[in-house]
Symmetry: D2
Subunit: 145 residues, 4 copies
């Protein structure tokens, strides 16, 4: 976990997804609540898969189920900020993929948070793990560089 003990920099990531914060993301302490960071993870990963054409929410018969997530928080974000979500794949297995995700606040070069997000691919009807389908694997492979 050494790489997560200090903030990542933007140059580490090649794919970014930008998300505006919302009024309700701020909690009573005046900063984006820690829970919301995971909404950014979820959104960035699935947005990438949809954009690349390998996830159709309504119809895909094989989908990714989240089996593990984690996040280390370095500095706060707030509303209104734009969060730039850096995404890369750090492990690509037979049926699972582990993403590393970093959140950058506005123009900051240092991440406000870095986390991981693990999907296991399953057959939607049965929830049984399956080999990651070829087209999905290609997209994930392109995130490993």
């Amino acid at each position: 976990m050494s790489e997560k003990s200090k903030p990542a920099r933007r140059e580490t990531y090649r794919h970014f997804n930008s998300i505006q914060t919302r009024w309700g993301d701020n909690d009573v302490y005046g900063h984006v609540n820690n829970v919301i960071y995971y909404a950014f993870f979820d959104t960035a990963v699935n947005h990438h898969l949809i954009e690349r054409g390998v996830l159709d929410i309504a119809n895909s018969s094989v989908i990714g189920l989240v089996v593990e997530t984690r996040c280390t928080f370095f500095s706060s974000m707030g509303f209104p900020d734009t969060v730039h979500v850096g995404l890369r794949v750090v492990h690509l297995g037979n049926s699972s993929v582990r993403y590393e995700i970093a959140l950058f606040r506005n123009d900051a070069d240092e991440a406000s948070a870095v986390g991981e997000f693990v999907h296991v691919y399953v057959e939607r009807a049965t929830n049984r793990p399956v080999t990651i389908p070829g087209p999905v694997r290609e997209v994930l492979q392109s995130l490993t560089a």
Copy 2:
């Protein structure tokens, strides 16, 4: 309520705020949950006030409290969509302001939803209604045209 019985068009609004939908905005029926529409209202109104320099979340001694909201839903939105939030002021009183807000999905000209959002300005320390401060009123006035 006649103006809310059919979808508004973009030309009705001069100020827009754009918000990306998130994975979790979709509910189990596969569309953005009705509750989230109000998060878009909240976000667009406050974003405008902050951007125009008349709301400082941490320090403003006079703030707007929400006393009434409503929404009529015409068509669904989903993830990933960009929601363009049209904003105008339809009533500006001594201490309260009524916004009309319309949500446009991606490039749609017809609103997916139209609603209202009423702020009463109060002294933050006591929650007592106050006359809307001059600088705020100027910003609100500019949204009435």
Copy 3:
């Protein structure tokens, strides 16, 4: 709207659903954010329908779509509070039902908020309005008293 211009009392309602507030329900002003009130509406209505056996989220071929909601806010709630959601039907049409919903904070007799929530029943596959199915109508009828 006269009945919504002042807080309702508990005796007005016969059916209640209790919901705990969550940390993140509080917004930066230290009270439950207005958006969350609608999450309570959604939750109470659907919980009642599921509990009474007339909504099966995964399988019902006829479902209620939300076409209009509104809320008037009288006083604040916070975390940690228990919200008691009073529910009654104020109009039952051929394909639509209008609920009145009141939110009571902990032991308060006066509502913190009162709102309305309108479902139109549609065929899930086509989104076309249908006559409210008999078993659903029975449940709704029992909420009109």
Copy 4:
């Protein structure tokens, strides 16, 4: 992480907080979204601190900031379910505390998810880490058994 590789059992925990799921907790796949699990963590920890009298959201001059969270997901939960959140302290340092949290669905003896949640205590005005105040430490100590 060996203890997180399989679901915990109820007997592991002495303190529980119960939370009802909400309609909007379900995502498009029909189960409680992974993000919401962290809302349960946040809610259970802070609820316990408030209930025991060592956190006053509005006034405490020393507060816990979340610096790390993680969760392993074993099985799904849905709406409407009641989630029983088991809580214990697995590490109590000078200024930080690490909670282990397990989520039990309704009457299940095996956890649907197990995670960790780390608070660093800071002076609210400056965000500087401080020694955990005595009364807080006593409460945390009682969760280590």
